[in-house]
């Protein structure tokens, strides 16, 4: 969509639980629109943001739209660098098995399905942030 120019590294930092406020939903909307610009995109989930990726979400009791299935589409938009803060998970009694199994197809490897989520510690997260051109915090 954008003409020429170098690709920039975008990191979307998701810090909040999915339904207590609108930040998670509107962050996802930016990520999906941004995918059309073919930038180098990473997502980080820290603090209560890790709940956004929890599997088996149901919003029946609160009358809000369950937008969690949309995260499964990220792989189709070539968004496959999803970093989850390990400490944030552990502090909430969660493990990788509690999260949705987000995957992408590697076309350079016979379309093998590969996991998109990586667990990172705070030092790795800091290094990741250091590498970015644009950090959007939600």
């Amino acid at each position: 969509m954008e003409e020429g120019g170098a690709t920039k590294k975008f990191l979307y930092v998701n810090r909040r639980a999915p339904y207590g406020s609108i930040y998670a939903l509107e962050s996802l909307e930016v990520v999906l629109i941004g995918a059309a610009f073919e930038q180098d995109v990473s997502l980080a989930f820290i603090d209560d943001g890790v709940y956004q990726l929890k599997k088996g979400q149901s919003t029946d009791g609160i009358g809000m739209k369950n937008f969690s299935p949309t995260y499964n589409a990220l792989g189709d938009y070539d968004i496959n660098k999803i970093y989850v803060d390990k400490d944030s998970l552990e502090e909430r009694g969660l493990t990788l098995d509690d999260l949705m199994n987000l995957t992408w197809e590697d076309e350079t490897d016979n379309y093998a399905e590969k996991p998109s989520i990586s667990l990172v510690n705070s030092e790795e997260l800091a290094a990741l942030m250091e590498q970015q051109d644009v950090v959007l915090s939600f």
Binding site: M1, I22, E29, V30, I33, A36, F37, Q39, D133, L136
Partner: protein
């Protein structure tokens, strides 16, 4: 330096808009270029011309409009965030069958692509939020 600004919180409720305004104004006065100011989340409420703050307080909305006029600033309100929160320009009001519009002078409504473009074009994108 060419800067992009994102404002993620509404006026008066949160200092983010004040900080963004003060930062933007100071940057312009120092001769920096502001590529765009993008209003998202409750930040879209900074663009309603229907606020009536007390006489002895700052007028957050008018302040942005005046800055836009003075420096030919591009103030962009996210359309998706604006529509859910009742922020409409004349075109959107008509298109959605609403009987009023409320966008203040100097602001325009557009898509999220404008935020991504600001990230790409500006040397720094500075986010003011919670």
């Amino acid at each position: 330096m060419k800067l992009g600004i994102m404002v993620s919180e509404g006026p008066y409720q949160h200092q983010a808009s004040d900080s963004a305004y003060n930062f933007t104004k100071a940057a312009l006065e120092k001769g920096h270029e502001i590529f765009r100011v993008f209003f998202y989340h409750d930040g879209v409420n900074n663009a309603t011309r229907l606020t009536v703050p007390p006489q002895d307080d700052r007028n957050v909305v008018n302040r942005w409009s005046e800055l836009a006029k003075q420096y030919n600033l591009d103030l962009v309100v996210c359309i998706a965030a604006a529509q859910r929160r009742g922020l409409l320009d004349a075109n959107e009001a008509k298109r959605n069958g609403k009987d009023a519009d409320n966008i203040a002078e100097g602001f325009r409504i557009s898509g999220l692509g404008q935020l991504i473009e600001a990230g790409i074009q500006a040397e720094r994108l500075v986010v003011f939020g919670d």
